[in-house]
Symmetry: C2
């Protein structure tokens, strides 16, 4: 293998695939990136047990030669050092050549680097994915759905299935759900998918999705999602992202979301978020994060938190009218903060069924991003 | 005490004095900030064993009433929560009132906060400093001198005196020196100080100086430095910063800086720094940070580092001519990177006296910022 290529193109591709490199690989070759060059360009591949990523540098990008392949071939290079050094090479034109026993030379200006390489035959192959169920979504929409749910996955490895986000597609409607048993977040989008394409059992680790978010385009560029039994492939321009599907059955969460409420009201989102943040600051000092919410007679609500050592924070907020019973409820304010950070709305709907039942938070005029939070059960 | 004041003014003052609050105070009151208000305005004070800071909010700032004192008085409030909540209060106008047993109320819009306060009589008093030796320096110059030296202090608490920067003033020339026995950094400035003002024994902890840097003005605003035996006071507009002088005698470093060299050359600063950074990346993997520098026949130098597991980096750089003997020397590249980050010059002078003697780095045309680095002693 002997190539000349642009540092910027190599740097971008290395940055993309590096997200699939395990920081502590069980065997050295899994800490590597596989480079494969032929006349069409060069692909880079990295893989850990959950994620595999392939990024392709085409020979020509925007009428500019990005890579010139003098001799085709392949090699595996150690990802950590390779990624760091590529970022710091002094010139845009880079020469890379693989010699005997996969020893690799990189020359950039007056810098010459010799790297120990590994046999690409020993590198794991990419998962194979059947193209039966394919769905297309704008990258920005997929990003939003992940951002609105992945924060709520469980971090407790004793129930691995809850460390993932549950994806379902039915009648063209895509739904993502995450829960850690204390709160639940879900996000819904109407796609143009053919009704014949459907699935109900796809669970992908929150960590994997957070890595995917980093390489998804901000724009409305379409991303293909290919769903197979044990793998999901996200296909972007020049990048393939394979995510492992978690084993096990996700609990049925469809029935726990209440549709009727004993108490409900609307709050301005920003003022509510700021007030909760201040109450949280104090509740955090008590390590409990507990904030109390009470309805007042005049259509206002009061939030308060207290600490015997520091003091007390009391916030009052004007609702646009309280419907139903008076209420006094305690909750973990961190869960509210997390939900309010991802809800994109000027006004928030809150629905309650007494102090012991889950609270529903969502944008005033939409159920596309809904959050359920269990109250903190106190005797007071 | 009962006052109305601007959130922005309070937030700035709290931010300044917070740097003197110990994160783990031995008694609760030392985790506090003392507020003292009278008709002239309000002062805030915080203190740990090394640093004391007082910030003053005058009644009127830029023709605007910053603070209106309805009833004079004082209180101590817990710094961590107070600083966080002040940053997040919803309105610019804040009402603060101290009640019985120092319980304090803060009202801002629809937010009401009750804070447990402490008796200000129990708060430590500020150090007293004699005004015999006073020196004035532009804030930006003082900042530069600290930045150019404080990174080189020792982090080893077994020789406490070396954890500080040594300050000397003689004939109006101020000199700052720091060393951890492996490298030495010094910075020199000609001040307009009267030759009668002099000192040779002032050592201030690097940590203290790094906190001072954060509140020094970027501009050329003058800072008064008042030097007493056990304290140094840095006096800015509305802020007093007291730094404890470390006990003990600083070693005499004046004789270890060589004036003549067996080998010397000039290198372009940016290209040299980049080349060392790349060689460092590889040397870091070997945990040694060792990079070798060799002079070549043709006026170039070669830098290289190697790792049996990863490979080798070789850099060549053009000097503006090598004077003296050929050289081959090994060093800890991290020390070079640290020095090159603070030297402000397009070209760097390097002077050597063989592979076992300290290296001198400084700007080509100035000795005002000089760095001495011990080589790594290898048999090769």
């Amino acid at each position: 293998m002997k190539i000349t290529l642009l540092r910027s193109a190599l740097n971008e591709a290395v940055g993309q695939v590096s997200k699939a490199v395990s920081p502590r690989p069980p065997i050295p070759i899994l800490g590597g990136i596989k480079l494969e060059a032929d006349s069409s360009g060069m692909s880079l591949t990295a893989s850990d047990t959950d994620i595999s990523i392939r990024s392709f540098i085409p020979a020509v990008v925007d009428d500019q030669v990005a890579i010139n392949v003098e001799r085709a071939g392949s090699v595996v290079l150690q990802a950590k050092f390779f990624a760091e050094i590529v970022r710091k090479l002094p010139t845009e034109e880079i020469h890379l050549e693989v010699h005997d026993r996969f020893q690799t030379t990189i020359v950039s200006g007056a810098t010459e680097i010799q790297l120990v390489g590994f046999d690409p035959e020993e590198f794991p192959v990419l998962p194979s994915v059947r193209e039966d169920r394919v769905l297309s979504l704008p990258g920005s929409l997929l990003k939003d759905m992940i951002r609105q749910t992945s924060f709520a996955v469980s971090t407790n490895e004793s129930t691995p299935i809850l460390t993932g986000v549950h994806w379902q597609l039915q009648d063209g409607v895509l739904k993502a759900t995450a829960t850690d048993r204390h709160r639940l977040a879900c996000s819904v989008a109407r796609t143009g998918a053919d009704p014949s394409v459907q699935f109900s059992d796809v669970v992908i680790s929150g960590r994997t999705l957070n890595e995917l978010v980093k390489i998804l385009p901000d724009q409305d560029t379409m991303v293909d999602i290919v769903v197979d039994d044990s793998q999901v492939l996200f296909r972007l321009d020049n990048v393939l992202f394979f995510a492992r599907v978690l084993d096990g059955a996700y609990p049925d969460t469809s029935r726990i979301i209440p549709r009727t409420f004993k108490t409900e009201f609307i709050l301005p989102a920003a003022a509510f978020a700021d007030a909760i943040e201040r109450a949280y600051l104090l509740s955090r000092e008590e390590k409990t994060n507990i904030v109390r919410l009470s309805t007042l007679e005049d259509g206002r609500i009061e939030l308060n938190s207290s600490s015997s050592e520091i003091g007390r924070v009391t916030e009052t907020l004007q609702t646009s009218g309280i419907t139903g019973e008076p209420l006094r409820i305690s909750f973990n304010s961190k869960y509210f903060i997390d939900a309010l950070r991802v809800i994109e709305a000027e006004e928030i709907f809150l629905g309650f069924n007494g102090p012991m039942s889950p609270v529903v938070l969502r944008p005033r005029d939409s159920e596309d991003n809904l959050h359920l939070i269990l109250p903190y059960r106190t005797s007071g």
